[in-house]
Amino acid sequence: MTALVPLVVLIPLAAAALALALPGRRRAQQLITVCALASMVVLSGVFMFVVDSQSTLVMEVGGWAAPFGIALVVDRLSALMLTVSTVVLLGVLLFSLGQGLADGDQETPVSIYYPTYLVLGAGVCNAFIAGDLFNLYVGFEILLVASYVLITLGGTQARIRAGITYVVVSLVSSILFLASIALVYAATGTVNMAQLAVRIAELPSDIQLVLNLALLIAFGIKAAVFPLAFWLPDSYPTAPAPVTAVFAGLLTKVGVYAIIRSQTLLFVESDVNELLLVVAALTLLVGILGAVSQLDIKRLLSFTLISHIGYLIFGIGMASAAGYAATIYYIAHHIIVQTTLFLAVGLVERHGGTTSLNGLGGMLRSAPVIAALFFIPMLNLGGIPPFSGFIGKLGLFNAAAELQTPGAYWLMGVGALVSLLTLYALARAWSLAFWRSKAAALGGPAAPTGQSTEALVLRRREDALLEHLHDAPDARPRQQQRETPRLMIGATSGMVAISLALTVFAGPLYAYATRAGEALTQPQQMVDRVLGDSPDDLGGGSGKTTPATDAGDQP
């Protein structure tokens, strides 16, 4: 079983190479990409089942045992992240296939789109299975470099401008991460996470704190937590809809995953939980207040993305098994729902020609399917029962109530408020884009004769909703309205169905998350598993390297 672990990285990389070798044959590229991603979904699902029913998988690359060799580790958290990520990658790919087929692939240089997309997937998966800090860095770099290409796809002025912001910020965070690794290595002499867990605990507490904060800042930029999040709403909205969707779903969550790992495995004794709770509260509040003041739906969603990262940090900051469990469930929920919302906005943009609420209207009548596809994830993100957003938030609040500290109670209040404000911002967007009449959106006559007073009152309310909002000056001009291909609708519907499945199967999934959360509170098990001498058939580390007669070249 352990031999299959590297496949989640190797399959997309090999498929990317193959797709790159067939630049002219779009059909072949698409087929390769779909097949690769579908096999990754299956593989990740198998990992999830095996890891849960048996135990953590540890793959020693090249037969070199940890801590000297490179270990790839799949535990319950990694397996869940892999499954959710590959499902999202596949869903978004189908969406972009639909978009590309309908547009005749004229907008993007497609010969690089599919390979880059696969490399992005490889980077994300590599980060999730990394068993040492440097491999995590390499995973980050793979996904970042792929994302640089995707965010500047087409090379229009707006995308280049946004891309430069994104690239420079990401470079700075990568350098910080690398420098932190250097510091960690200088202090401990290892980068294997299991061995680090042992050696960092032996360091003086002030050095632990410095290392912890250095890594936290590097991961915080990636995860877009409050003081380090301002690059996100500037860069994400300009990318093509599917690219924004997959970035929103996955890239920030890789940062959150790294924070979870560093807090639960590396820095168990170094306590920054208070700081995390404060940062979580500020992320929640600042993010959602940004969302409330946006007129462009893509920017609005980018701000809700930042805001809801706060919930995840909240769960990590509680540092209890229940908190981790709720965070893990919430990550799965948020990846799926946020991606679905961005895909739905892609449909809105296509049907309505713009994402600015100023120019949208009457879409409930002209596109009822899109209205429904936006409405369900909207309620879900806002945390309306019985959807998974509600279950995740309930889990977080339960964990906070168990903790019974003032900080946790404060966060509960902030969390509930942000949940309401999320619903307010999204419901306003929905009612303006879908509910009001088309004539009102296009700036019809101010007081048309023959209208009832009710209509006038309604009109005034709509104006009041828009009163304090203005289009960004660099907003893109209204595009031609285009037909929406069935495949785009189908992919979005599929994602909505998966988000509903998170609700329907919330029982088993939350139980899984609880087991994963409990495992995170016992880092010693992970250490034994990776470094210890466990029988090979169980898939743990062997603890020793078998001497080979002809030593292979080991990177």
Binding site: I164, A182, A186
Partner: protein, 154 residues
């Protein structure tokens, strides 16, 4: 008086970090790239310095194991150099594209129109709410006051 090798490297690293950060704060994108290269090389030096004392090449048979220098940081540096090289090439392409699009003589960071609008407006824009506005629109009071405080920080 001789300066020991690690100390000299630390001094070089500090200079590279300082110069790199200074350059990255510049408006010209080419300087940002140069700054990134300097900071990247400073980090490579930092990685190199983590290997502790320097010894013989870490090749089995060439020297006794106790005299070898630590090979792992060198592997890190190699990886990091490759990544920095690739990203720099991409950045150069991006800068060139930006320069072509902007059709200016300079390769500076382009202004954000929204930021400019806020900076240049003498009166408060509608994004900002004064007390009088709140008095006129009491129905917005409950949510706008905290929002605007945050909005200004953005």
């Amino acid at each position: 008086m001789t300066v020991s090798m690690p100390l000299a490297l630390v001094a070089v690293m500090v200079v590279l970090y300082g110069g790199g950060v200074y350059l990255m704060l510049d408006r010209s994108l080419t300087r940002v790239l140069l700054g990134f290269l300097m900071v990247g090389n400073a980090t490579n030096l930092l990685l190199f310095l983590t290997s502790g004392s320097f010894g013989a090449a870490p090749i089995v048979g060439d020297a006794d194991a106790s005299e070898m220098s630590d090979p792992l940081p060198q592997a890190f540096i190699l990886t990091s150099i490759v990544i920095t090289f690739g990203v720099s090439a991409f950045m150069l392409a991006l800068i060139y594209r930006s320069w072509r699009l902007a059709q200016h003589d300079e390769d500076t960071v382009q202004d954000d129109d929204h930021d400019l609008e806020i900076a240049e407006s003498e009166v408060l824009t509608t994004d900002e709410v004064t007390d009088e506005d709140l008095a006129e629109n009491p129905e917005f009071e409950f949510e706008n006051s905290p929002e605007q405080a945050e909005e200004e920080t953005r």
